[in-house]
């Protein structure tokens, strides 16, 4: 595919950019259907309680209230990855539990009706600590959990074990061994648009249309059908403009079938919108994890083994988030060369809210623990933090202990780049004095770059339609949730077919129209949908080539596509004319093609061995911080990012992904935390949940590495999740470098930092006095 590229690799603004910034974009909140009702959900008053009775009489008496549903009014299946999650609850298991739902003629009436529903609770002492939950005497938290049979403990929701290499032998030959327990906090996505759905059920034909903000419309359609006991083909999913996904829309949540049920019961369209407080209370979070990691290295600094035990707080129900160990085990087994690895992760039921999936999918947590331990190993061996990483860096052609095959690998170039650009070696050794102490930290990451074969298919379908006037519709199975892949698709089509960008439309929001795709996750869309599109373009070109040859009366074969023309030698013809002649001339066909692409990746076996992705992305970050020892505030000054993206498709879009990812990573490192006390969320607002703002952002220096991996479109790899994965680890390493203090938990809040600094100063004082 080595040819002159005039579109790919040149910055293009996002296709939906103008609509979004001007307010023209139609989000779920903007949808208004005739006779539409408004829904609200009554959530539990307690994180854990028996419900003795629910009395809706008063609420039903309120004028404008059309329907109220409780668990006993509906005949539905349980939802969630483990099917352990009732849509409406008979008893309360966490603060966000849905007890009743109201549909009314206005939002105000629906809100009022909630206050009139009388629920009699019997509060039960909840279990909020996963270690407590695992004790024999603790009661079973989720009665639909199968932990006792499957994993020998009633409160284990999911468990993974993986290993490679000879652990004992590698432990013995280790010169240094570092063991630490890390605790990672609960954070949330903070999507600009709150959760929303509009359900429109027709009593005429029994069809259900859902305007839903999902990242995975086809899996969602199937999940919804299962929940509602409906035929999936009767459910049409239309995706309005999505105001942020970041993984939060990978699962279907109870509010969605609830809204559908209200529409089915009333025969009217029903809309359900979260307010911001409800968004904090009731939308998914990143897994909080306790990670016990032991790492070893031999005298030469080569990593010998990693042994890790992870305890994840699953919350009351199980979502896709419980499968984050799939990703984490890749990181433990294969980020840097490791001779042996033993990995165990358990998701434990508690009465906390359930966690979901979040950009990075467990990888920020795993990377944090590994990269902290790597710094400690380097210290003990007297090696530079850069050296130990370069010694162990992944390399092209490597097949890791888990069977990941790195056909191309930019790990070492990325590391080298950020080490040089940040002046890491000098800065890491500099000692500072005074109020503001500077430090620099390094971290790398490994993530799938060519999809991930977890579901039975990791594919994507594309239909292409060239009209009589030379305009192209790309009907793709993939979805746009802000990541910029639809712009990349239009760029690919423009590059290949010589059609100007403004003549190309991407149609991607309707399951009745678009072909199947597994969804937006695993940094897969530009890779999988891009390859699918290239397949479709090949088919379309075959058709156009045939017709063009006929019209230009020349030999069959390939033509050049440029500026709306199909050319060979000195002959040329307009592409729209070819399309028209295809239709009106014999044998009268339309210029429409369809292609389905399935990546060549393979499933893992039962021991989790296998090459699950079409290719792999590598990245390193070096971060420079300045710590104010008067306040404990950590200021991130510069972030140096180098990432193996295969090939840069749209520089502007990629830069946006890098900056957005780093922003989320900085928040994870420094300020974001959902604070729970006995199952109650204490900070459900942007006032107290400290999402960083534009003025907090440092300078981000980005150096792409192009390894031109043949599996990806033009050699590209997935890039979306990577930029946030190593950020928190690099920041923690930088803060440790600045202060000479180890931190085992996130976020590195000013108070935590100042407290550690004060203790260090006091200890130093005590030591100097005792001498």
């Amino acid at each position: 595919m080595d040819k002159n590229l005039n579109i790919i690799g040149k910055s293009k603004p996002k296709l939906d950019g103008k609509e979004r910034v001007s307010g023209r974009a139609v989000y779920g909140h903007d949808i208004e259907l005739p006779n539409m009702l408004h829904a609200r959900i009554l959530r539990s008053q307690y994180p854990c309680a028996r419900i003795k009775s629910i009395d809706c009489t008063k609420a039903l008496g309120l004028e404008g209230v059309k329907c109220i549903l409780t668990a006993q009014d509906v005949d539905v299946n349980r939802i969630g990855y483990k099917r352990d999650h009732p849509v409406l609850k008979k008893d309360a298991n966490c603060q966000r539990d849905e007890i009743a739902a109201v549909a009314a003629t206005s939002k105000e009436i629906a809100a009022k009706a909630l206050n009139l529903i009388h629920v009699e609770y019997e509060e039960i002492e909840g279990i909020f600590d996963p270690f407590e939950a695992m004790k024999e005497e603790s009661r079973q938290i989720n009665l639909h959990g199968k932990g006792k049979d499957l994993y020998g403990n009633k409160n284990i929701a999911e468990s993974f074990h993986y290993s490679h290499g000879e652990l004992e032998k590698q432990t013995k030959r280790s010169k240094v061994i570092v063991s630490r327990r890390y605790e990672l906090p609960r954070v949330t996505h903070c999507c600009m648009a709150t959760s929303n759905i509009t359900a429109d059920y027709s009593t005429m034909d029994g069809r259900l249309t859902l305007y839903a903000s999902t990242q995975v419309p086809f899996l969602y359609q199937r999940d919804m059908a299962h929940a509602l006991k409906m035929d999936p083909s009767l459910i049409r999913i239309i995706q309005p403009v999505i105001g942020g996904g970041f993984g939060s829309k990978l699962d279907m949540y109870p509010f969605e079938p609830i809204c559908a049920l209200l529409s089915i019961k009333t025969g009217k369209p029903v809309q359900l919108l979260y307010g911001r407080e409800e968004e904090f209370l009731a939308s998914p979070t990143r897994q909080t994890m306790i990670i016990d990691l032991t790492s070893g290295a031999d005298a030469d600094g080569k990593f010998t083994f990693r042994e890790v035990r992870i305890t994840m707080d699953n919350g009351a129900y199980t979502s896709w988030g419980a499968t984050t160990p799939f990703v984490m085990m890749q990181t433990y087994s294969s980020l840097y060369q490791v001779a042996a690895c033993d990995f165990q992760a358990k998701a434990i039921y508690t009465n906390n809210p359930f966690a979901g999936s979040f950009r990075g999918y467990g990888n920020p947590q795993a990377t944090f623990s590994i990269e902290r331990n790597n710094d400690l190993l380097a210290d003990e061996l007297g090696l530079g933090k850069d050296e130990i990483r370069l010694i162990n860096a992944n390399y092209p052609g490597e097949i890791t202990g888990q069977g990941l095959h790195f056909k191309t690998c930019g790990a070492k170039p990325a590391l080298t780049k950020v080490i040089e650009a940040s002046n890491f070696i000098r800065k890491n050794r500099e000692k500072h004095k005074g109020r503001y102490l500077k430090g620099v930290g390094l971290a790398s990451m490994l993530h799938v770059g060519g999809g991930a074969k977890i579901y039975r298919s990791d594919g994507c379908g594309t239909r292409l339609k060239l009209d009589h006037y030379g305009y192209l519709d790309i009907i793709t199975g993939s979805s746009e949730i802000g990541q910029g892949s639809e712009t990349v698709l239009a760029m690919i089509a423009s590059q290949e077919l010589g059609i100007p960008m403004k003549h190309i439309k991407v149609v991607n929001t309707d399951t009745d129209v678009k072909p199947w795709d597994v969804g937006v996750h695993a940094s897969r869309t530009s890779f999988v949908a891009g390859n699918s599109l290239l397949g479709a373009i090949r088919l379309m070109k075959q058709k156009l080539d045939r017709k063009a040859a006929q019209l230009m009366e020349c030999e069959a074969g390939e033509f050049l596509y440029e500026n709306g023309l199909i050319k060979r030698d000195k002959k040329e013809i307009r592409i729209d004319k070819v399309a028209r002649e295809m239709h009106f001339g014999s044998p009268n066909e339309l210029c429409i093609v369809e292609y389905f692409y399935e990546p060549e990746s393979s499933f893992q076996d039962k021991q989790f061995m296998g090459d699950v992705s079409g290719n792999y992305a590598f990245a390193s970050q070096a971060v420079e911080v300045e710590v104010d020892t008067f306040t404990g505030n950590v200021k991130v000054r510069d972030v140096y990012v180098s990432q193996d993206v295969g090939r840069v498709l749209n520089p502007m879009g990629l830069q946006g992904q890098i900056e957005g990812g780093v922003a989320t990573g900085i928040g994870y490192a420094l300020t974001e935390e959902m604070i729970y006390e006995k199952g109650y969320l204490m900070n459900p607002s942007f006032h107290e949940y400290k999402l960083l703002t534009a003025v907090d952002m440092p300078d981000i220096h980005f150096y792409p590495i192009e390894t031109l991996d043949e599996a990806g479109p033009y050699g590209s790899k997935g890039a979306g999740e990577a930029p946030l994965i190593p950020t928190a680890a690099a920041i923690a390493n930088a803060v440790s470098n600045a202060l000479g203090i180890e931190f085992l938990t996130l976020p590195l809040s000013p108070e935590k930092v100042l407290k550690a600094w004060s203790e260090k100063k006091q200890n130093e004082l005590a030591n100097s006095q005792s001498i």
């Binding site: 300020t671 107290e688 703002t693």
Partner: protein
């Protein structure tokens, strides 16, 4: 959120409005950046909101510079304060506090009167104004004016001396008596915008020809039930040369400031943290960079 709203456009209409609602439940608001959040969580059926934002009267909306001082109408928004050249020159502490408040969007609508009347112990403008020894001009329902120092105006968290028949009209800051100043606002929080102070310190020192401190004002925020004027620390600094304050005196000032605080633990920070940071920040006022 359903409530009645009345929007007087002049002082007279405002006074009428006040008279009409004396027996009922009403709230005053201008920028609504705090009130709307509060009302989302409370019952509003019987409530009348008196919307002050339509009042055109210069006494409420203007910044008036006089030889004796500067009068800022209660309806002046925070962005106007941050941009005002006279304030920038004469009262840097106030300009810095204005620029540190919330975000650019909120500063365009939030008013100085609202920030004061919320009586938040962490109010940024309040902290600066107490250090500047500002006073309030309070319009009574009978049309007369009551004067009170801002320091006395604050009575507790979210409590002021303002009565039901009164409305804050304007704030007066006395003119500087010298031209040489050391004046600034220190805000400690977790992020650089949209942040409620965890600790704040305002200082405003007027200096003689030899850099001696002739008049001083220091106030601290978010470390006591109200903004606190640190009288002992201010007195201690009298006549000291601002450029040559010895390290032991710097520590003494920090100690005196810390002694006037009585912080508590809350979700944003512990009392321990507030105490430490207050001391460290106070110490930093006179550190030469």
């Amino acid at each position: 959120m359903n409530f009645n709203i009345e929007s007087p456009t002049s002082k007279e209409e405002l006074l009428n409005c006040l008279r009409n609602h004396q027996s009922g439940y009403f709230r005053l608001a201008a920028g609504f950046t705090d009130l709307l959040i509060e009302l989302k969580k409370s019952k509003t059926e019987e409530l009348t909101v008196i919307n002050l934002s339509q009042i055109k009267d210069k006494q409420f909306t203007g910044i008036d510079i006089q030889p004796s001082g500067i009068r800022i109408g209660a309806l002046v928004n925070v962005a106007q304060i941050g941009k005002n050249q006279s304030i920038r020159k004469s009262f840097p502490v106030l300009q810095q506090a204005a620029d540190a408040l919330a975000s650019g969007q909120i500063r365009e609508v939030a008013t100085i009167g609202g920030n004061i009347c919320q009586a938040s112990p962490s109010g940024d403008l309040s902290c600066a104004l107490v250090a500047l020894k500002a006073s309030c001009e309070i319009l009574k329902m009978d049309g007369t004016i009551r004067h009170e120092s801002l320091n006395d105006f604050f009575r507790g968290p979210a409590v002021t001396s303002l009565q039901k028949n009164e409305v804050l009209k304007s704030i007066v800051i006395p003119a500087n008596q010298t031209n040489k100043l050391k004046s600034g606002f220190i805000k400690i929080g977790k992020r650089s915008a949209m942040e409620c102070s965890i600790v704040s310190i305002s200082y405003h020192f007027q200096l003689g020809a030899d850099a001696a401190i002739l008049h001083s004002g220091i106030a601290i925020g978010a470390v006591a039930p109200t903004v606190i004027f640190c009288r002992e620390a201010a007195d201690f600094l009298h006549k000291l040369n601002v450029n040559k304050i010895h390290e032991t005196d710097q520590l003494k000032v920090a100690e005196l400031i810390q002694q006037s605080a009585s912080p508590i633990d809350d979700q944003r920070a512990s009392a321990w943290y507030r105490n430490e940071v207050l001391f460290n920040s106070a110490k930093s006022i006179f550190e030469q960079d």
